[in-house]
Symmetry: C2
Subunit: 341 residues, 2 copies
């Protein structure tokens, strides 16, 4: 019998995840029952939100249970199908999780056209991260031509799309990223107007210089010291879509330290700020506009992207830990299996 691999949550991390929070298991390849199909995973997406699923603190989604397979978005090939509308050989986007093979009843699966764009883009620029950028920036941030948009993790899957869409809409895009290489990429390849190295001691000053007219939209995906540097630069009526807080994910239990909630509220008050948390599913109805715009921009070369790929499911935990430390460069993916079996 052929064997499958899966990675389960072995224990909940305290602070940074460690390798022993995960466990690799070998199982027989499952057989689809009536109303089920079997997918073979090609690509597994690694995303910061997964840190939240490892914790049982209240969040917008239920946590992964101990001994359950880690959740994650996947692109896979249908191997066998007892579900109407799907047949062997179909390429599907779904939430197969951290495993080489997954059963599904077909709900929530979306067939993708393998010829339209590289398969992995369905997990990045043309997928959830791209749509997070698109809806958060356009529906909450609402940048006007000439306004200044700032985004951190600017070389990452979400941040890179935020800045490029801002440019398409006529705004100035200022990125924040970790290290010279990433900053150069953000400016020279992605076409941001400037990029600040958050590892530099002069980060707050550099940001101020780059944002000489203040900040109108701050797309928040990191929290922590970057947010503290941004706050004094926000203009009247600035908008702050909050899509993530990667600097805080390993410290979610920490409620103290840094400036206070009252300080933030005071800033909201005196500057008429809008601070709005969201997850991409809040804007599910915007999928048609998103996919039409982004596919077009991608084909025209207006939206560029970059991927970091690790080979093989067993390397997913290490890559995920690196992602939380900012060690990836662009969209982090795990190559679980070949495009064609």
């Amino acid at each position: 019998m052929a064997s499958a691999q899966r990675i389960v949550l072995a224990s909940r991390p305290v602070g940074e995840p460690r390798l022993d929070n995960f466990r690799l298991e070998e199982t027989p390849v499952p057989t689809p029952g009536p109303g089920q199909l079997l997918m073979r995973t090609i690509w597994l997406s690694l995303d910061p939100y997964m840190r939240g699923r490892m914790s049982d603190a209240a969040s917008y989604a239920a946590p992964v249970q101990i001994n359950d397979v880690m959740e994650g978005g996947t692109v896979g090939e249908v191997v066998a199908s007892n579900v109407d509308g799907f047949k062997a050989g179909d390429i599907v986007l779904g939430r197969g999780g951290w495993q080489t093979h997954a059963l599904s009843d077909g709900k929530g699966l979306r067939k993708i056209d393998a010829k339209a764009a590289p398969l992995s883009t369905a997990l990045g620029v043309l997928g959830m991260p791209g749509m997070t950028a698109y809806t958060g920036l356009l529906d909450i941030g609402q940048p006007k031509p000439g306004e200044t948009v700032v985004v951190a993790a600017a070389s990452g899957a979400v941040g890179s799309a935020v800045g490029q869409i801002a440019k398409i809409k006529g705004a100035r895009a200022i990125g924040i990223a970790g290290g010279t290489d990433k900053c150069r990429y953000v400016k020279d390849v992605l076409g941001f107007d400037d990029c600040i190295d958050h590892r530099s001691r002069s980060m707050a000053e550099d940001l101020k210089k780059a944002c000489s007219k203040g900040i109108d939209v701050y797309f928040e995906n990191v929290g922590g010291p970057v947010f503290e540097a941004v706050l004094p630069l926000l203009n009247m009526f600035a908008r702050v879509p909050v899509c993530g807080l990667i600097s805080q994910y390993n410290a979610f239990e920490e409620e103290k330290g840094g400036k206070s909630m009252n300080f933030l509220l005071r800033n909201a008050l005196v500057k008429s700020l809008t601070i709005r948390g969201f997850i991409v599913s809040n804007f599910a109805g915007r999928y048609p506009e998103f996919i039409a715009d982004m596919t077009k921009w991608f084909a025209e070369g207006k939206i560029k992207h970059r991927e970091t790929v690790v080979e093989g499911l067993p390397n997913a935990p290490k890559a995920f830990m690196g992602l939380l430390r900012g060690e990836n460069f662009g969209k982090q993916l795990v190559r679980v299996g070949p495009d064609k079996a």
Copy 2:
């Protein structure tokens, strides 16, 4: 020559304002020049925002300069006018400041109908505080029937209107106020569904009990411990209009203490919250709807209000200091002169 009185800012307070931050001055009654009119103050409004004007920390409005007259909304009678459209005897709403007589070029003055409602309501329920409540609640809070709206300083000028408008719109209204008398008034007279005493040690628990379905709209006007009690009770997609932070006004220099900005952002993220600061002038275009609705509701007895009046301009500083400590009960006013001279 007749004499006028005015109160100027003598020095900037550090923490709570003290009497010596103010100075009462006697001057001759001024004579209006060409293009000017002279108003005699009848009512002076005292409002929490004035604490911000005493400080030179950055805010949404410029601070009062040392030795300048304290700013404030007034209802007055035109004594003499060289301004087209105004004549002696007109009753006008304006920003005459903390003084018995004020010159104006007529800009920003609004004539009010002395027969429609008591003059003082133009500074309260039918004025800036009423409109702050109306626009913050309806334009940002957007309560739906059956949702739960929470407001602190619930017996005050803004809070009392917030809860009563929420009830008119079919929402549940839960107030927070200081002391048994105010809480009883908020429930029995204003008709809120419940009112929590923030002086009670069990405030957070009491609030949780009163909000068994969570909180959908929190109208923020106090900050501090009340906000900390509210935050865990906010429902998914809750809205937080931020109109003031009275608990923090004397501590604006304090940026630390209490839970952190990151904690607030995390809550915004996991619950898709909208936190939006505003001042009433953001919604100036909504004045016609506001005045039509509120005048009607007021005439129908659906909006009740209460005033605390101190007699005489010299008592304004003491009354203002009391307002910041919550010693007023309802809208705080200074009776500066009689309705008819």
